[in-house]
């Protein structure tokens, strides 16, 4: 993980209070409404222009969509988090910034139920189309396997 303080300072100029640094000092925290402009800014005006990973984590009180952006020159990584309301997990899609977000967002939708608004074809990718629920949510009940 690269030090994000420098990045935060430059971004603060543009987005002022909309962004903050997480408690452990490793991630950039953005509210879900502002994720697209922030990521666009990072992609176009900083070195971190490669989307290395996109996923989400289901915490008891909130949902987080986690973006890992990489600097293709020296493989430096930064983590950007968007906080989502659990009852209504919606966020803007970043497919228009990176084509690769297409499959990753579909996967996140499939497994965690985060709805990416503006995604061209948001449907299940790993689970069957008629699957119910989102398996990686903590409230998803796993039936014990039947063993012979």
């Amino acid at each position: 993980m690269d030090n994000i303080n420098v990045l935060v300072d430059t971004l603060k100029e543009k987005f002022s209070s909309k962004i903050s640094v997480s408690d452990d000092g490793q991630s950039l925290v953005v509210s879900s409404a502002d994720i697209f402009p922030v990521l666009k800014e990072i992609k176009e005006n900083t070195q971190y222009n490669f989307l290395a990973d996109l996923t989400a984590v289901d915490y008891p009180e909130r949902m987080e969509v986690v973006y890992h952006l990489m600097n293709i020159k020296d493989a430096g990584l930064i983590r950007v988090k968007a906080l989502l309301d659990k009852s209504d997990p919606k966020i803007d899609s970043v497919v228009f910034l990176w084509d690769t977000a297409n499959v990753m967002e579909r996967e996140t939708y499939d497994l965690l139920g985060v709805i990416f608004e503006g995604h061209p074809d948001l449907k299940r990718i790993l689970c069957p189309d008629d699957f119910e629920g989102h398996p990686l949510r903590k409230d998803y009940k796993v039936e014990p396997a039947v063993r012979q």
């Binding site: 222009n49 490669f50 299940r124 790993l126």
Partner: protein, 373 residues
């Protein structure tokens, strides 16, 4: 290119060709819904998930050590690299220093695994173009690597070799002479392979200029590893941010020029030789010492988040670990290169003929175990 019939006044009809999940060249249970106009592919839709085993969910119910055998089953052609990526993530999260000898053993086995994985790729690429004989040749060389794994790991395919803090087995007796023999034979075998298939005019004709992805598109599609380098982007994690002991070895990162299927294929052939070079150096300089760091019996990862990736054989293999301080991961996300690489496939295949679509699919080297996890 596509499509001339409309111009000439013939009325033609597009049809949907369902390629997979069971098809000779989908490399597993991948399915592509192809819209075809005669021989030409008009549209491609990826359908994956037939091998979805819920690895990420399984991880939440396994201790850190217990999850190691499952990582084998992701990219089952490069088990050791998957193990490595996972244990490195846990080591990073726990702040464990791995003994030097263990790192060297990891590099040796990891690079052998990379050779094995690339051999499968070049072999299956040849096979998808109906080159049965070169396919067999490459598999014999891979067989020798698997024999070596059998000696050191105790398994051939699902190695479960790495442990958090080191490696479980030291180099056994008789391993090094066998490895030396393999390394001595490899260049000749690779040349033979090149003569049969790489230089073959039919093969070159079928792969040059097929499934082209330029550097910009490759970056946007998140391609990593050999697929990205084939498009001319010089990015290899082993060079860009050397993990383990890769900074001590002298090797080159081969690059492609056109980002077509031939470059993606040929890059693997070149990387095989570079990996052999790394193994050679590692064998010469391997130190004596412990193979396991002092780690507690019960692994508890401190609360927090870790993202760690390694240069896998297919690309950047990333692990995003969220721990709540317990013995099991709170959330483990597996970023698999094949899954991302496959996302670029529709763009490569559109507008080509069916045979080109097959060649492009072979050239991005997907493993369905990793795509679906």
């Amino acid at each position: 290119m596509a499509i001339s019939n409309q111009e000439s006044g013939f009325r033609t009809q597009e049809f949907v060709l369902n390629m997979g999940p069971q098809h000779p060249s989908t490399h597993g249970v991948y399915r592509a819904i192809l819209t075809m106009d005669g021989e030409y592919v008009v549209d491609v839709e990826n359908v994956v998930g037939y091998l979805h085993r819920g690895m990420e969910k399984i991880a939440e119910d396994r201790t850190y050590t217990q999850f190691i055998p499952y990582t084998d089953r992701m990219d089952y052609l490069a088990g050791i690299l998957n193990n490595w990526g996972f244990v490195m993530t846990v080591e990073k999260a726990m702040g464990i220093e791995v003994p030097e000898r263990a790192e060297y053993i990891r590099v040796i086995t990891g690079e052998l695994q990379r050779i094995a994985s690339h051999l499968v790729m070049v072999a299956s690429m040849a096979l998808d173009l109906n080159g049965y004989t070169p396919w067999m040749y490459a598999f014999y060389d891979r067989e020798k690597i698997l024999d070596l794994f059998e000696m050191i790991c105790g398994s051939r395919l699902t190695t479960s070799f790495m442990r958090v803090g080191g490696v479980p087995n030291d180099i056994p007796e008789g391993f090094i002479p066998k490895l030396e023999k393999f390394l001595a034979e490899l260049p000749g075998r690779a040349d033979d392979f090149d003569n049969v298939i790489t230089g073959n005019e039919i093969f070159v004709g079928r792969t040059k200029g097929v499934g082209v992805l330029d550097a910009e598109a490759a970056l946007s599609f998140g391609l990593t590893g050999p697929n990205l380098r084939a498009s001319g982007v010089n990015f290899d994690l082993r060079k860009a941010q050397p993990y383990s002991v890769y900074d001590r070895f002298d090797f080159e990162v081969p690059l492609g020029e056109n980002g077509d299927s031939f470059d993606r294929y040929n890059l693997r052939m070149l990387e095989i030789r570079q990996s052999a070079r790394i193994i050679r150096q590692a064998l010469d300089t391997i130190p004596e010492g412990d193979i396991m760091a002092k780690v507690p019996k019960v692994l508890k990862v401190p609360k927090g988040e870790t993202y760690c990736h390694i240069e896998g054989s297919k690309g950047l293999l990333g692990f995003y670990l969220v721990s709540d301080g317990g013995t099991k991961p709170y959330r483990l996300h597996l970023h698999s290169p094949s899954f991302v690489n496959l996302g670029a496939y529709p763009k490569m295949a559109k507008g080509t003929v069916l045979q080109d679509a097959i060649a492009s699919l072979a050239s991005i080297d997907i493993v369905l175990g990793e795509v679906d996890r």
